[in-house]
């Protein structure tokens, strides 16, 4: 039997990164993700791996870009307003096709905001703030156990698709301890020898760059990236369904908010109301197709987020049925309480479910 231990989300991510062979970490302190860098500082040094307390988040993400060119597993972590500083380099990494895992343990914004809970970076992660046509794969854990599993998956997808991956973690989850098991990394290592930069020995020289003065070549390059994104959108959407098969009401939520949604779902199920929860695990690629299928049986789709409705637009893009789409949310602070959400849902569904 594999033993469980009480693990904090941030530490779980750091341990999983080490466990699957991450050899380079670059960071700068910002709450609520600082424990990742603190934990790795000693562990990486003990193993003679690369760890730099960078001069800034801009420094950190660019060190990650350089390290990624070596073909190794590379991670940086930060939070919200500081991830904003890294957006330029994510665009470069996407264009350069360099695999970087970036962990964003979210705090509240806009601006410096504060360290209160919030899921305000859904747009920043899925749409991105870098320039040009590019995409970043975004994974969203909802438990400490999933922090571990999705850290493994982040490294795997980053190298498989040679693309930056963001692990988008609620501050609540980064700071929360719950029982979890450090499982083994289930993914194979990817051979990077065909593209990495390690000196032009016994092969022609290589260069990795995003600048392309020839418009046709630049056009072709972006089209090639989009072929890759199309493949990602076909192969990688991942989600969790909870009691969705017969659901007339589907709650959509990501991250830890989905845990609240399940509790609420149970509450309504006890009253005989057919409710289910749909939780996207990959925020990009968003599981539009499955949500679309489920929505044809649903009268109501109710999106619940700790922001002002950022995933809501993806829910709207997914749903093609006549389901009524509503939103319950709050931008910052104490997580929405069960009773608040229940009352809000009752208000939305009262016409069809007069009995409750």
């Amino acid at each position: 039997m594999i033993e469980k231990s009480l693990l904090k989300g941030n530490i779980a991510i750091a341990r999983a990164a080490l466990n699957c062979g991450c050899s380079c970490y670059f960071g700068y302190p910002i709450t609520p993700q600082t424990e990742i860098g603190e934990f790795l500082s000693l562990e990486m040094q003990k193993r003679n791996l690369a760890y730099v307390c960078a001069e800034s988040e801009i420094g950190a993400i660019n060190m990650a870009l350089g390290a990624a060119s070596s073909g190794q597993k590379v991670m940086a972590s930060s939070s919200s307003c500081a991830v904003a500083l890294m957006q330029e380099t994510l665009s470069y990494a996407a264009s350069d096709e360099l695999p970087i895992v970036l962990v964003n343990v979210m705090r509240a914004g806009p601006g410096q905001g504060y360290i209160y809970p919030s899921q305000g970076d859904y747009n920043q992660a899925t749409i991105g703030g870098g320039n040009g046509d590019y995409k970043t794969i975004v994974l969203s854990p909802s438990s400490v156990q999933e922090c571990i599993e999705l850290t493994y998956k982040s490294f795997y997808l980053a190298q498989k698709y040679r693309n930056p991956v963001i692990l988008l973690v609620d501050g609540l989850l980064g700071q929360m301890a719950e029982p979890a098991t450090i499982t083994q990394n289930p993914y194979p290592d990817i051979d990077t020898s065909s593209w990495r930069l390690d000196g032009a020995k016994d092969r022609p020289s290589r260069n990795i760059h995003s600048l392309e003065p020839n418009q046709n070549k630049l056009n072709q390059h972006v089209l090639k990236l989009y072929q890759k994104y199309q493949q990602i959108e076909q192969s990688e959407p991942d989600w969790e369904e909870y009691l969705c098969d017969d659901a007339e009401i589907i709650l959509t939520a990501f991250g830890t908010m989905a845990r609240s949604a399940k509790a609420i779902c149970n509450h309504f199920r006890e009253q005989g109301i057919k409710m289910g929860v749909f939780r996207p695990i990959t925020l990009y690629p968003f599981p539009y197709k499955r949500l679309r299928e489920l929505s044809f049986k649903a009268k109501y789709i109710i999106d619940i987020e700790m922001n002002m409705g950022q995933m809501l637009k993806d829910v709207r893009l997914g749903v093609l049925s006549n389901s009524q789409i509503s939103f319950i949310g709050k931008p910052v602070g104490d997580w929405l309480k069960k009773e608040e959400i229940i009352n809000a849902i009752k208000n939305i569904i009262k016409e069809q479910y007069a009995s409750i």
């Binding site: 050899s23 380079c24 670059f26 003679n48 791996l49 690369a50 730099v52 960078a54 001069e55 800034s56 801009i58 420094g59 950190a60 660019n62 060190m63 990650a64 870009l65 350089g66 390290a67 990624a68 060119s69 070596s70 190794q72 590379v74 330029e88 380099t89 470069y92 350069d96 930069l197 390690d198 000196g199 032009a200 020995k201 016994d202 020289s205 290589r206 260069n207 990795i208 760059h209 995003s210 600048l211």
Partner: protein, 251 residues
């Protein structure tokens, strides 16, 4: 008899695409010669950045990575450290302009020097932003006319320029910092010797090494190649003296 040949580390099909009279070509050629002489070609990753210097990979037949504007020293840090994490020492150098190294990238540049990162940074100082058409840069001299200092750089209105090699020499982690020029054969040879020394600093694993190259920008200076070199020799070297500001490689 010595027969002239193109260095092995220069791409055989490369064409000179810089403006006529620009010193980038000479700078890249002597770097290529040094790479050949030190037998570094198969163990080097070079980092270029934004501006005219980004085109390094069009000429050098070695592994090259482009950094976002100003971030070359951070990217080089990542490259160096990553290979070291798997027990390999790669030779890593950056090739940057003065705007890249000393303006937008000053934080990354100076912190790499402060950490004593074992990389080499080469900075082409042509006292303006060349690729964008000659705007005032961090190194534009007092009185210099540029498209964004049309009345001349003025200390009250624009502030002072940076003496990069002197500043970088102040960092504890810097083991070698020098300024060279390319305006005549004597200086080209001296520049080559100096850059070679900076490269050897890294090969001896001593810490950060830096060479600033005073370089012509005839197009934006609106001078001929000859007059540009004359300007460097007679005017710029008075403000930016050619010297080795720090050499503690053997300390």
């Amino acid at each position: 008899m010595q027969v002239y040949s193109i260095p092995n580390s220069i791409k055989k099909d490369s064409k000179f695409t810089f403006c006529k009279g620009c010193d980038h070509g000479v700078a890249i050629k002597i770097i290529a010669e040094i790479i050949d002489e030190l037998n570094l070609r198969e163990n080097t990753v070079a980092i270029s950045s934004s501006g005219c210097s980004v085109l390094l990979y069009d000429f050098l037949d070695i592994d090259c990575l482009e950094a976002p504007h100003g971030r070359a020293c951070a990217v080089a840090t990542g490259v160096k450290r990553a290979h070291r994490a798997k027990g390999e020492e790669k030779f890593v150098f950056t090739y940057q302009g003065d705007g890249d190294f000393a303006s937008i990238g000053l934080g990354e540049s100076m912190h790499s020097a402060l950490r004593g990162e074992n990389i080499t940074a080469i900075c082409i100082n042509n006292t303006n932003y060349g690729m964008t058409g000659g705007q005032m840069g961090p190194t534009s001299i007092m009185g210099q006319l540029t498209t964004t200092s049309p009345l001349g750089r003025n200390k009250e209105y624009h502030g002072f320029p940076i003496k990069t090699a002197e500043q970088i020499a102040l960092c504890e982690g810097t083991k070698f910092s020098a300024r060279v020029a390319l305006y005549d054969v004597k200086n080209i040879l001296k520049a080559k010797k100096t850059i070679k020394k900076a490269f050897e600093c890294q090969l001896k694993n001593k810490g950060f090494s830096f060479v600033e190259i005073l370089s012509s920008c005839p197009t934006n200076w609106k001078l001929s190649a000859q007059d540009s070199h004359k300007k460097i020799a007679e005017e710029l070297t008075k403000i930016y003296p050619l010297d080795i500001f720090k050499d503690t490689i053997d300390d």
